[in-house]
Symmetry: C2
């Protein structure tokens, strides 16, 4: 048993899709969320910048003495996980490995689609992990740099013509490749799930990386006897930009009204 | 005469449209450009964050002992200019005032359209300045939060279906208002000029804020006897993210191959 909180972070709002899943499967845990809204997006930035930001994000979360950290950001998971794990002596869970495993277990025809930010796709991290798990899987990958701006601007509702056109443009080569599984390699993308599903059709399994990562973290903590013993946990949110702008969209990401106060943190000090 | 350089900055690539104009009209000047590509975009961020970033940008440029600074960013101009001018004892030129003057002088039917980032439109700075110059001008303003991501991702060429659809969506209410002048209140937007012109029609005058700001700065420096005496000046570029990603798009913004080296700067240290 470990009553300490779990830290969760993302470049912005996307990681709230993982927070939501953690709350659902581990209702007794205390959670601390940090969204780096003052520097979002990460996915169009270079590896060096991503690493610098991710280290600060972890340093901030460590001030809460967490028992584990969930990197609820595909870009950080694909570009900075090894460094974060090397420099921090606590469990750090990320989206790449559990998402790759879920995709390899899901595919029947060995054709998997992968979408993510430019930095995630450029890293090759998801492909390497899938190839390690099953060298026979053929991956069709595509960077979708406009998805995060669309989602962060609230443009994810079915019927949004711009979102539909961008989905069509990015996903056409993946659909044409005949994949039966598509990894949404960024925690922002589940917000576009309905539009993506409508384009890809009902026979393609969509892997929600935030959710699989949350489940992987929960399973591991349970195995190690590190879950909290508490009737009902809560969560706190911190952001690096305006609190108002975050609060507005966060409830949509969480699927429920935001609980408690949101606080602003000067992340560049960490 | 003043042989010192002129500093120019923007959140990313957009300000290069002002740098290009400065080089055209003041070929003898030395120019130092900083693009905060590691924290772009500014226009979706809150005022406090924008101010913090802008102060660091100016601090960095001041290490070159410039004779003046050009804020080639609509968002900073609209949200942080007063503070920057109060805290720095050198001429700081920004886009809002010259763009507002150009619009008021251009309009015949007293109906002006204004587009900019969310933070620029929210500030009301352009409208205040136009009302001060001519209270009879009616402004129809619209935030265009997807324009900067489109441009920073190279999606500005005529025929880009997504860019065309976004332009149509944002500009329809402005076109419907019957404006004869449209202020492109962000230095990224001139890259979308052809698509915007094609939608608005040939009878609407487009105000390129980067260019009018460059001309305003040049006129003022000339009046004060602060221009350099030099056959041919040059420019240096600094960015806060990957040099490769910047170099690729910068030549398109400049309309010519990038001259000299680009250097990376850790802007958070300033």
């Amino acid at each position: 048993m470990d009553q300490r909180p779990i830290g969760v972070f993302d470049s912005g709002l996307g990681g709230l899709t993982a927070l939501r899943e953690l709350r659902r499967i581990l209702p007794g845990e205390e959670l601390v969320y940090f969204g780096d809204t003052g520097r979002v997006p990460y996915g169009t930035k270079g590896k060096e910048t991503i690493l610098h930001y991710a280290c600060q994000d972890v340093s901030f979360l460590r001030t809460f003495d967490p028992k584990a950290i969930v990197v609820a950001c595909g870009t950080v998971s694909a570009n900075a996980l090894e460094e974060l794990q090397r420099e921090n002596d606590l469990p750090i869970f990320a989206v790449v490995t559990p998402a790759a495993r879920a995709a390899v277990e899901s595919t029947r025809n060995k054709r998997v689609g992968l979408i993510g930010t430019s930095a995630s796709i450029r890293s090759g991290a998801y492909e390497r992990e899938m190839a390690r798990l099953d060298p026979g899987v053929r991956v069709t990958a595509r960077a979708c740099p406009l998805f995060v701006p669309l989602v962060e601007n609230g443009r994810f509702r079915p019927g949004d013509r711009v979102a539909e056109l961008v989905v069509e443009e990015y996903l056409t080569p993946i659909k044409d490749a005949g994949v039966d599984t598509l990894v949404l390699g960024c925690t922002h993308y589940p917000l576009l799930m309905d539009t993506v599903r409508s384009f890809m059709g009902p026979n393609v399994t969509l892997i929600d990386t935030g959710a699989v990562c949350a489940n992987h973290a929960a399973d591991t903590l349970r195995e190690r006897g590190l879950l909290a013993q508490r009737e009902k946990g809560s969560y706190r949110c911190f952001v690096s930009d305006s609190i108002e702008d975050f609060t507005h969209l966060a409830s949509i990401f969480l699927g429920e009204p935001l609980e408690g106060e949101v606080e602003r943190v000067e992340i560049w000090r960490y």
